[in-house]
Structures are given as C-alpha cells and as structure tokens.
Symmetry: D2
Subunit: 328 residues, 4 copies
C-alpha cells in the first residue's frame, strides 16, 4: 500500500493535563514545532488546530512554515473544544449564538485550509454532548448538530468535512460517539463531501474493532476520509505511541486500510505527556511504516483464506509465526 504520513502539529510539543495545566515540559513556539516536525523524514504533511495554530491573522505565516519545510497541509481541525465559549457545546449548544459561532469558525478554517492548499477539515466537536442525566434534549440538540454540520458541508463542496468520533471526553457522553453514529449523521447530511475520521484509539474506546470500523465505512458509502493513529488500554483515550499496546489490532487495521483501498493520510495523534514529543512522534511514524511494510510483506491470498475459513487456531498460529519467531 502507498502510505502518506503526517502529524498533528502540537504532537511534537508539550502536553498538559488537568493536574498540570502549564504542561509537563516547556512550551514550544509554532515555528519550533514546524522545525521539529521537519526532523522526521517520512512525514510529508501536518494537521493544524484552529486558534492553537491557525487564526484569521496568521495564514501567511503558516504558509511560510509549510513552504520552508516542504510540508503539505493535511487538514485543519477547527477549535470547537479549547475555549471557554464552547463549554456547553458548539454545533449542539443550547445557545443559538454559540451554534452560529461554531459554524462561522468552521467556515473560516475552511477558507484558511483552501488558502493553505488543503482540502480537508477534520472536525472534532468534542464539547457536543452532555455530562449529566436529564441534562439534554437529545433530539433537539442532535437536530441542531446536524443543521450546523450541513451548513459547513454545503459551504464549499470541494472541501471534505471529516467527522472524528469519540465516545467521551471532554464530556462524559459525546453526540458523535461511534463509527455508526457518525454514519447516521453522514447519511442525514447526505452530501458527498461528508465523511469520517477514524481515530484508532477512539475506536478501541468504543469497543469497536478498528479494522471493522474501516469496513463499516467502506460498506456504507466509502466514507473513510482520514485516519488518526495512537494506542491505549481500551478504557480511555491514553493517546500513546502507535503499536505500543495493540499489536494485532493495529496490524489488522492496516490490513483493512489496504484491503479497502484507503488512500488518505496516516496521521499521528498522540499526547506524549511525559515523553519528548519529537521522539514519540518519530517512533509512532516508524511504527506505522513497519506495520505498512509488514502488511505488504504478507501474502494476501493466505490472509484472505484465513478470513474466509475463520478457524481461530489457524489464524492465531499464523499471527504467532509472523510476530514471535525468535530472531537469530
């Protein structure tokens, strides 16, 4: 499979959590972040976050950085999660003025993306959802959500809008929770330019098998638009280095990307709280590359035959020999 590797810009920087809000390491400037990304040879593109990296005013400056390092703009992730105003939601906020702001900011980021040579918006409306029982009008708020998404989808049909689902965090329950919920919304919107981002870890969190989520998106309209890679221990979005926990799930995921003809970017989305961000991303990219190579090295005929039979001792034996054969 041909593979294009990218990274969310902030991933090579420092991270905060709720206990250490000023960060586990000193912060990096945007130009430092770009420079750090440039040190990973396989990386050909970056994803930028609204407000954090891209604003109305700095598009030219960002363009210079991209040009300087020969990086493509893979996507912009509009900021629907990192400001006080979104605390009760963005597209699904109970406050109509906030909903308007969510749409307006997205349109700005669409324009910025086009100006920067991109054609993909990875939308993560993380504040849209609820925390408490009896707190939400699930029908009304989901209707508002779909209306807003529809408006940004029709704004520029040549720009893809890719919905990144996540079952929870920062809200205890998200509206855009699973791959199937995302497909329901995509069908509701009905435009060609709406699709879905699979974040590998989010898929695990929802007790999905990530490879099966790839298949679902293929089956229901070829809607896999983008991929975010990381790993975790299933129960929470730990955002760890690719392949550090789920060897076989990751392998099957890459196998199905190839099987379904995915030709988009493979983008790192890790949160290296305590690691050096650059080293963590470098290793994540190396891992993606090795998974891609491993997928390419194995016999499709053999794997397809295993899948067709479905005999688990044979499948397990095959994977064991692939992964465990002691090195000489």
């Amino acid at each position: 499979m041909s593979a294009k590797y990218s990274v969310i810009l902030s991933n090579v920087g420092s991270c905060s959590d709720r206990y250490l809000t000023t960060g586990y390491e000193k912060p990096y400037s945007i130009s430092e972040l770009f420079e750090r990304v440039s040190k990973i040879p396989q990386v050909g593109g970056v994803e930028l976050i609204g407000t954090w990296h891209v604003t109305d005013n700095n598009v030219k400056e960002i363009k210079r950085h991209l040009d300087e390092y020969g990086l493509k703009l893979v996507s912009i992730i509009p900021d629907h999660f990192g400001q006080m105003k979104w605390k009760y939601g963005s597209f699904a906020s109970k406050d109509g003025a906030i909903r308007d702001l969510a749409v307006a900011h997205t349109k700005e980021m669409i324009d910025a993306a086009v100006e920067l040579g991109g054609n993909l918006i990875s939308l993560w409306p993380g504040q849209d959802g609820y925390d408490y029982l009896f707190q939400a009008d699930y029908i009304q708020e989901r209707d508002w959500f779909a209306e807003g998404i529809k408006e940004v989808c029709t704004y520029r049909p040549d720009v893809k809008i890719s919905l990144e689902y996540k079952v929870k965090e920062p809200r205890t329950h998200s509206y855009l929770s699973t791959v199937a919920t995302s497909l329901l919304i995509a069908q509701e919107i009905g435009t060609d330019n709406i699709g879905v981002t699979i974040d590998f870890g989010h898929s695990l969190n929802a007790y999905e098998t990530p490879a099966e989520s790839v298949a679902l998106l293929k089956k229901y309209g070829n809607k896999l638009f983008h991929v975010h890679m990381n790993d975790n221990y299933r129960h929470w979005d730990d955002d760890m280095i690719v392949g550090s926990v789920h060897t076989i799930e990751t392998l099957e995921f890459f196998y199905w990307l190839k099987r379904t003809g995915y030709d988009g970017w493979l983008s790192i989305d890790q949160y290296p709280y305590r690691e050096d961000g650059l080293e963590a991303v470098r290793e994540g990219v190396n891992a993606m590359e090795d998974f891609v190579n491993l997928v390419d090295s194995i016999s499709t005929g053999e794997i397809e035959s295993l899948i067709r039979k479905g005999n688990s001792p044979e499948i397990t034996a095959y994977l064991r020999k692939l992964l465990l054969s002691a090195r000489s």
Copy 2:
C-alpha cells in the same frame, strides 16, 4: 403514560451458566412457566423463544396456555443462539446453508406468531459476529446479515421485525452491536416493519444512555418497537432485577418513553440465576410500575425546563428531592 407489562416466559424459570449447565434450580415445564407468570397480576403478555418454547408442533398447545391465563403473545424471539448449528452465526454465517436455515426458522416463527395472535418478532441474532481478530470478512458478512433480515422483513409486512442489539456475548463482538448500528441496518433494509428493541442493560453495556437511545430511535424514523427491562453494573449483561442498580438512568429512560409517545410493551428480560424466577420477575414488574407512576407524578413542565436549561446542580437537586426525601 399507559403501560403494558410482559415477560419472557423463561424468566420465571431456572437459569444456567457456563459453570453450572444444568441450572441453579430444578427446571420448570412450559405449563408450569405459564402458571407462574399468571401469578403476577400486572402482566398481560408473554414473549416466547423459538425451540425453547415454540416449535412447529406445539403452537396449539401454546395457544391453550395463552387462552387459559388470558395472556397475549407479545413477541416470539426466534432461536438463533441456542443450538449447535448457530455456533458460527445465523444470518451472517459463512455457511450459506446455515444462513438459509436462519431465514427459514424466522419465517416459521413469524407464522407461529400470527397464528398466536401476535405481530412482533424480537430478533436477537446473538451468534452473528466474531471472536478473534482476522476471523471475519466484516463487509461480506454484514451484507449477508442484511440480506437475510431483508428477506424476513418482506415475508409478511404486517409483522414487525424488531432487532435487539447487544455489544457482545455470546460472541466477543456482535454485528448488531449498538442502537446506531441497528439504525444503519434498519435504513439499509428500508421497510416499514423493521425496528429496534432496546434492552436496557444492553444499552448500558454499550456506554449508551438508555434515554438517549430512545431519542435516537425517535429521531431516525420512530423505530423503537420493543423494550426489554433489567439492570446491570454497566460492564456486562448481568440481567438483574429492574432498578436494582441504576435508579436515575431507569427513571430518565421511562421519562423519555413517555416523552416520545412509546406505546409498546415493557417486558422483563432478567436472568435470575440464584433468585426464585417468579419473585424476581414480580419485583421487576413492581419496579417498572413504580417508575411509570413516578414519571406520571412529576411535573413535565418542571422537567422540561430543567432539560432546557441543562444546569446540573439544579437537575441533581431536583432528583435528590424526588428520591431521597426521608420518609416519615
């Protein structure tokens, strides 16, 4: 809200698990099970399971039992899970002959239901899914699944086919996993007589908020056809007595049933491994009745205003006063 209470017939009997396959109590005959159900005054109907309760040959006998106790047939749950032949799936089996049997058995049960005065099939294809990674062709098998379901939906348009989703067990991963997956399939089939059964506990297992699942089914085509009630500790389908763990989720669920105008049956689906089945069901029904009464006693205006504002300390205070005010 007007409420109709029912029970799955085997619920008043004895239960097995994988360690005690002969059951935690002596088994009951079908006529004993009917007699036991008849002792719970609020119960007006029963659900029967294919093979276990209904076969091609005993429809008349079943009819006699229903008549004797004045019970309605609420649904038949065809047996797609309790025989060796389904071990690798029913509608989604890799074996075409098995897929045919799955359809044929369902049609038989549709006929039996009509003969018994029913118009609802609650379909739980629990063996359709997979256990191991690299074991399934997720696209092909889901296509087969949809084809089979479509065939039974078109067999008799006057009989409702209601899909009961569950994220896992007996397979480690089910195809019909969540409310949103069920809706995708329902839209794929596209007939009027396809809908969804919410099993309260299954909804919790999938990290759904059950009330939100009611809302989703309302929003996407008014597709809530049936309800199974029980409770659990979220991580597994413990099938405990209604209301024994999740007081507020259960209350919110009944509130949304009323709010969305649900007028189907409220059916007990518990597995009283160690309890006397009759006593456990009696208490489950009493609990449903008290939740219904509580929902009817509270001011809709007040609740709607809380939902509209979404202020959680106010919501929590309201629920606290409703539930905790010490009795004199």
Copy 3:
C-alpha cells in the same frame, strides 16, 4: 450518624482539562475561594492542596482565612502531581533526588498542617506508576514507594497519613491502585498513623463496591481515615456531583460508614468543569446530608435482616419503596 462536612478548597473554583488548560471559567484567588466556601452553611472544614493553596510562606495567611470563616483544616494534600518535576513519579521516581523531594515536601506539609491545627495528610501520589509496558521495575519502584511513605509516617506519629488510591490517571497505571493495594502498603509500613482515604469515585473506577471497601478497611485494622465524595459513570474519574448517578451505591456506602462507626470528615472532591463550583459543591453537600438523613431514618434492624438473608427480590423491593414511592 454524626457527620462533619468539608470540601477541597479548589472545588469551589474553576477547572481545566487537557483541551482547555486555562480553565472553563475565570480563576478565583485563594481568599475568594475561602469566601465561597463560607457560603455553604453545613461545611465546617477545608482541605488544602500543597503548592496550589499552601506553601512554606503563606501559612499565616491561610490561618487568617480559616479563622475568619471559622473553618477547620481537615487535611493538607501535598502536591505530588502538579509540577513538572513529578512527571515520572514522586515517592517511586527512578530518580533518588526526586524521591527525596517528595518526602521533604510531605514533611513541610505535615508541619504546615500541625501549625494550622490539623492532624491529617491526605496523600495522593498520582504520578507514581507507569504508562507503558516494560517501563517499570515494579518491585524496585514499589520498594522505594514504601520507603518514602514510611519515612513520612515516622516523621510525626501524631499526624495521620491517609493514602488515597486511584487505579489510573494521570498515569495509565498507578501503584496505589485499589483499596487492597493500599492495605498491603499500610501493613508493610506498619505504623498506627497510616490509613486510607476512600474516594467514592475512585472506588467505582476500580470495580469496587464502595461499601465493601469501607468494610475491608474496617476488617483489616480499622484503616478508613478519610472520605472523598463525588460520582461518575464507573469507567473514569468524572468527579461529578454526589449522588448524581449512583443512588443505591451511595446509600449503601453511607450505611456502611455508619455501621462501621466512621467518625471522620465527609469531604467533597468534585471537578465542576462546566458548573459553577460553589453551586456544585452546595448541591454535593446537600446530597451528603440527605443520604445521612436517609440512613438515619431507616430501620437498622430491617436492613440488617435483609443483609443476613441476602434475598435480592426482597432487598430490591425494600430499596424501591424507600426511593420511588411517588410523592403526593
């Protein structure tokens, strides 16, 4: 049961998460936080966090605040989690210099607590643990952990050191993970002044039944020293308002506090990301008070008889009548 209510000072303020590091609301000064606490009439004491609230230099200022509002110092929680230096652990850090700092800071906080009229340190070594597989020498690091704790326990035998366990976050795996792990460590240390803090939500996260954790601490040396109250959806430390999700678990927890003669503080430990902190704490305290009153209002003889028999339909019926009887 006699009950003493307190709160962690920062709970009435504003909260951050990893996406909104500057907070969901404007920050409050320490004196504003004290003033806000004083508006909740039932609250008689506060818990303070090292660095955030108490430093070597501001003990007198803190004393003034306590005196002004007639609040007791319930505990100090030393800061072993909120500074860059702890990023790889405090008591169990691989770096001996950091381990020494963890001990030294704790001793300073012990001295500060005594000066402020307190006798309890609630220790939450949240950074002690690991994130990745093959990252930790579990034996060596646990030995270091125990050594450090022992040193602070022997520093001032008249000050209680209470270990607050939590299964994960901020690390993916904590050393002080469960009530039983905490007891193992307490037995290893062996001093009279070591005990355990149950955080209700942390207990749920570890699939403990919080009431059973109270019982375990009673059985193994009467080691329940302190209680932090909140609620969540079991899978993560959502730090929600007391009683907002788990009505029956919370009731059983308070029942066992009374049954085992707990006479310490009941302290709010919520994270009101989007709520007004004061209103959320006020409601949390009201909830604790109502649970205490409900426990006091019910017949101990009746409950004890239910526990002795263990018949779940009877138990569930009892709780249903207690909680659901529609108000007139």
Copy 4:
C-alpha cells in the same frame, strides 16, 4: 527459562454457555479427554476439576489414565462452583452447613491429589461474593471465607493451596477479586503453603498489568504458586487462545516470570466455545513455547536497561523491532 506445560483437562473438550447449555460440540468422556491431551507433545501434566473429573470413587481410574499417558497431576481444582448447593457461595456462604461442605470437599480433593502424586490445589471459589447491593455482610462473610481457607491450609501443610482470583463471574462481585485482595488473605492465613494462582485473563479483567501482578506476588512473600494462561479483550473473561490479543502484555508477563524465577507449571485455561478444543489448546501451548523462546532469545541486559531508564519511545522501538521486522 525452563518451562513445564500443562492443561486443565476439560479444555480439550466441548464448552457450554448460558444460551447453549448442552454444549457447542458433542461431549467427550474422561478417557477421551486424556487421549486428546496426549496428542500435544509439550504437555507434561494436567489439572483436574473436582466432581467433573475427580470424585471420591474414581481416583484409581484417574491414576490409570495419568500413568497410561505419562502425565503428571499438576493440580486439582475442587468444585466450588458447579453444583446447585454452591449457588450462594461455598467458603463464604451464609449457611454454615454449606461452608462445612466446602471445607470437606477441599480436604477430599487434597487427599486425592496426594494419592495421585500431586501437591497443589488450585482453589477457585467463584461463587463466593455477591450480586446485589445490600446483599452481603462483607466483613462477616470475608471472615468466614478466611476461616475456611485456613482450615484447608492447615489440613496438610505439604500440599500447596493456591488461590485463583477473579474480579467477577459467576457472581457480579467476587470476594477473591484481585492479586492484592489475594495477598491480603494469604497474609491473614499466614501459613507457608498458601499462595496465589495468576490467571492471565483474570488479571487483565481487573485492570492489572499481568507482569506487575507477578512482581507483587514476588515482593510480598514469593507467593506465585501457579499460572493459568489465556487471553481476552480486557473487559470479560473471554478465555481465548494464548497470545491472540495481547502480544506485548504476554511477552512482558513471561519476561517477569523468568525475572522472578518462577519454576511452576504454565497451564492452559481456555474455553474454546466454537473451536475444536484440542486444536485450540495445541495452539495455546505452541504460543506459550514461542513466548518462552522469545524471552530466552532477547538480551536481559538490554531489557533491564530499558526498564531502568523507562524511556517509552526507546522501549516501543525495541519491541517494534522485535515483533514487526518483516520476514524475508
């Protein structure tokens, strides 16, 4: 590391679950089960289950089978879970007569083990726990539990009693829930012959890192007496083939077995619901052997250096190269 492989006899047979109580395959006789085990060349011993395999009356027959195939008796697992009488518990039952039966059956199995040349009882008191809130006197029942265990430990000090913990199933909550709970009980009993069985999957279910559980048992008295191997998706005891999901956790587990000098048996404990039991066990044993070989092939110095530094990108890179280097 020197490794001894064994299997629980029933693992090569057929399995039931609660939906298919008569089994997913035809049942095998005891002599057939022995014959099937004998076909796996690396297996040198078997574990037998009370009632299911060993009774008072068939010890001589069992001896003949062991001799015929040159198999050692690795352990007996007394039956405290598979009969109606244990439905409310065995050692911790509220009924004193049942508690006596639990002790008496264990003593019989101890005698049988000795007669069969064994010196290990793997005790899995799966019914000791509770399902519902307010159902148990956690202190009293844990006291009874410890009393019973103590009695069987003192019966024959030359026979090891190894406690197999599991967080739930068949009860929603087990008393013997985690490695730390087991250690608390072992310390409470205080005899030399009490220890702990780690079931790899049970450890995952409790959000333990299995390698860390090995370390905990080493640290607190060298108490790892026995190992049961399988795999699962973390949330439930799926009892899948060894290594089929958690490659790295399994590798780290074997590494720590070697590091701590474990010299007991490595025993398969799988539930091949749909697989041929013999093929599933054969593959499980092959997997254990490959993990052992891989552990022996890697440089201890390198791994220890990685653990000492704890730098996760380096650790992940090491494991990636070990596992993913595409085969030529």
